[in-house]
């Protein structure tokens, strides 16, 4: 699809008059794109002796890597946890609508559901590249059902599960298979969790800790077994306590395997977490922050009653903002860090040479003016002049 020969003949586009996020800072540089990838203009100049085929003036805007949302339960009336005959259309609708929010890749998330739902829905959500049709699907995030009863939050009690004796087989039976699965959130204090974590990690699936009453020791062991993510830090877990920080303590734990970085999702809407708490977490471990929406089907719709999996949820206004860190940090938390979490940082979440050309054009207030996937304009604000 993106072979070297074909790419070399593709047109070269030069995005000028912009600031790009590269190496953790905003640089006054042009962004060069060819064949759906970020191009090294120096090589083009000296080795191929070519100039750009087309120049696009970005009006002084910021160009950041496309956002990656690893926790989104649905939106615009679509609920990923509903077993319908045509889950694909729902995913496609959300994939298309989130382009206007600058999201170029996402993990559709399923909350705790009965077996039938997993068996029916999972096969209908394949991994898919993004494009004009919508953001790319990186794989499904299964949040539950192997979570703590005390910390189930909005998840339905009836469908919570713990691991049976042959834990991993139990997992396979519950989900009906792990194709298309990218992340699994579970509570590590459940018996047999370690073998499950190890098996999932061995399959390349990211294991996340959440909806749990685990203490720090249990959490650390889970990380040693392979867990790399924390689902919505602070929410649905024991609060930070100075004698046992619980899962929150992983941010500064010295008992993590060497070279391993723990990532933590945060819903930065100012409601799920007090901005001061968000800042504490960010200052303690800035490189692990991953911004997620944990959006519900009501995203983009008005107030009223909406479904979330097997439950109904009241919606009363929506707020969202990023609190207390530099623009560059915030942008990395929404793009680079989720890419690193999923091991995709060579091609997603960055504007380095060779990466997929998935990026967003932002004004100084970080409003999305345009979204690009593989170098192609897939969404543009009404008033944008690009």
């Amino acid at each position: 699809m993106r072979g070297g020969q074909v790419a070399a003949r593709a047109p070269v586009i030069q995005f000028t008059n912009c600031r790009i996020l590269r190496g953790g800072t905003l640089l006054r540089e042009d962004l060069w794109v060819r064949g759906g990838r970020i191009l090294d203009p120096e090589k083009l100049f000296f080795e191929e002796r070519r100039v750009a085929d087309e120049q696009r003036d970005c009006g002084g805007c910021i160009l950041a890597p496309g956002f990656i949302d690893v926790q989104i339960n649905g939106g615009f009336g679509v609920d990923f946890s509903q077993a319908s005959e045509d889950v694909g259309s729902g995913v496609a609708l959300v994939a298309r609508r989130i382009l206007s929010h600058g999201v170029t890749s996402f993990c559709p998330t399923l909350v705790t559901s009965p077996l039938e739902v997993y068996h029916k829905v999972l096969p209908q959500i394949p991994v898919k590249s993004g494009g004009p049709h919508g953001a790319g699907v990186l794989g499904v995030h299964l949040e539950g059902p192997f979570i703590s009863w005390e910390k189930r939050g909005a998840h339905p009690e009836a469908h919570l599960r713990s691991f049976e004796a042959d834990a991993f087989q139990d997992v396979l039976a519950t989900y009906g298979g792990l194709d298309n699965v990218r992340i699994v959130t579970l509570a590590p204090e459940l018996g047999h969790s370690h073998e499950v974590i190890r098996e999932l990690t061995a399959l390349g699936i990211c294991v996340s800790l959440g909806h749990s009453v685990a203490d720090l020791g249990t959490a650390e062991e889970a990380v040693q077994s392979g867990a790399t993510f924390i689902t919505h830090l602070f929410n649905a877990m024991l609060p930070f306590h100075h004698r046992d920080p619980g899962i929150v303590g992983l941010l500064t734990s010295d008992r993590l395997p060497a070279g391993r970085r723990i990532f933590y999702g945060m819903i930065a809407d100012g409601i799920h977490t007090n901005p001061a708490a968000l800042r504490i977490a960010h200052r303690a471990h800035p490189k692990g922050l991953v911004l997620v929406t944990d959006a519900v089907p009501a995203l983009g719709l008005g107030d009223g009653r909406h479904t979330l999996g097997q439950q109904e949820v009241e919606v009363d206004g929506l707020t969202a903002y990023v609190a207390g860190c530099s623009v560059e940090s915030a942008l990395e938390a929404a793009s680079l860090h989720p890419a690193q979490l999923l091991g995709l940082e060579k091609c997603k979440g960055t504007l380095d040479f060779g990466a997929d050309a998935d990026f967003v054009v932002l004004d100084d207030s970080l409003h999305v003016r345009a979204t690009y996937i593989s170098g192609e304009l897939v969404w543009q604000a009404e008033e944008a002049r690009l």
């Binding site: 540089e29 042009d30 203009p41 120096e42 100049f45 000296f46 191929e48 002796r49 070519r50 100039v51």
Partner: protein
């Protein structure tokens, strides 16, 4: 020679930039009339601090020059001497260098024409002096073993063939070299002194670089700044030049 003395590095850089800009615009370049700008070259290509990277990041990426109109000596060429000879040919083919812009080393060298280089030398392979290797070490993590010991360089004679030469000298550590270059005789130990015999030379420097010059010299040239500043003020623009074309062009001041 014109000696232009500015207060500091920024002002000297800005003056030089404006001068080059005015020169290019007054030359009235076009598709059939190229303005050939010469710059000193040196290091091998592969290194991150290579001249290619340096030229790209500091010059080429900021302008719309076509790659085919850039010629950089390739330190990785199979036959280095042939590479040098071809470079000389390319300069001839381009109609000669209109303006050569260079700096000066603390040992008074121009490009990599170290002390002892022939004043009529052409583009060639040159062994670098220890001083230069030490100065370049900062580009190679301070590891002397990594610093190239050879470089391809334009010769003193090559630069002398340019129709105009501009030398930029800033900083107190260059002061002695500047003194040797303009107040002493022509000497192959201070190769920049060769330009005393060039019909059109401009030396642009800051106060610190004049520290070894006679007070008399500095005062003389500072006194000429009123006249010299007419070279950069008014600052021409391409658009205005289109309008002025019909009017009779004023010759730029020359001594």
């Amino acid at each position: 020679m014109k000696l232009i003395i500015l207060d500091n590095y920024s002002q000297a850089s800005e003056w030089a930039a404006k001068y080059i800009r005015n020169r290019i615009i007054q030359f009235n370049p076009g598709p059939d009339k190229y303005f050939t700008l010469g710059l000193p070259t040196g290091l091998p290509r592969d290194h991150p601090e290579s001249y290619h990277s340096f030229m790209w990041n500091n010059f080429f990426k900021h302008i719309d020059i076509h790659p085919e109109n850039t010629h950089i000596l390739d330190g990785n060429a199979a036959d280095l001497q042939a590479e040098c000879d071809v470079f000389e040919e390319k300069i001839k083919a381009a109609g000669g260098i209109e303006l050569f812009v260079g700096g000066i080393g603390p040992d008074g060298h121009i490009a990599f024409n170290e002390p002892g280089s022939s004043l009529v030398s052409r583009t060639r392979v040159k062994t670098l002096a220890m001083d230069t290797i030490l100065a370049n070490a900062r580009f190679f993590d301070g590891d002397l073993a990594k610093v190239p010991t050879m470089a391809l360089t334009v010769g003193v004679g090559t630069v002398m063939d340019a129709r105009e030469v501009m030398i930029l000298i800033t900083g107190a550590h260059k002061a002695f070299a500047l003194y040797k270059a303009i107040e002493e005789g022509v000497n192959h130990m201070w190769t920049v002194s060769a330009f005393q015999q060039h019909p059109r030379t401009v030396f642009v420097c800051d106060e610190d670089a004049t520290l070894e010059l006679k007070v008399k010299t500095v005062k003389y040239f500072k006194g000429l700044m009123l006249v010299h500043n007419k070279l950069v003020d008014p600052l021409y623009s391409i658009k205005e030049k289109e309008i002025e074309k019909s009017q009779s062009s004023k010759k730029p001041y020359s001594d």
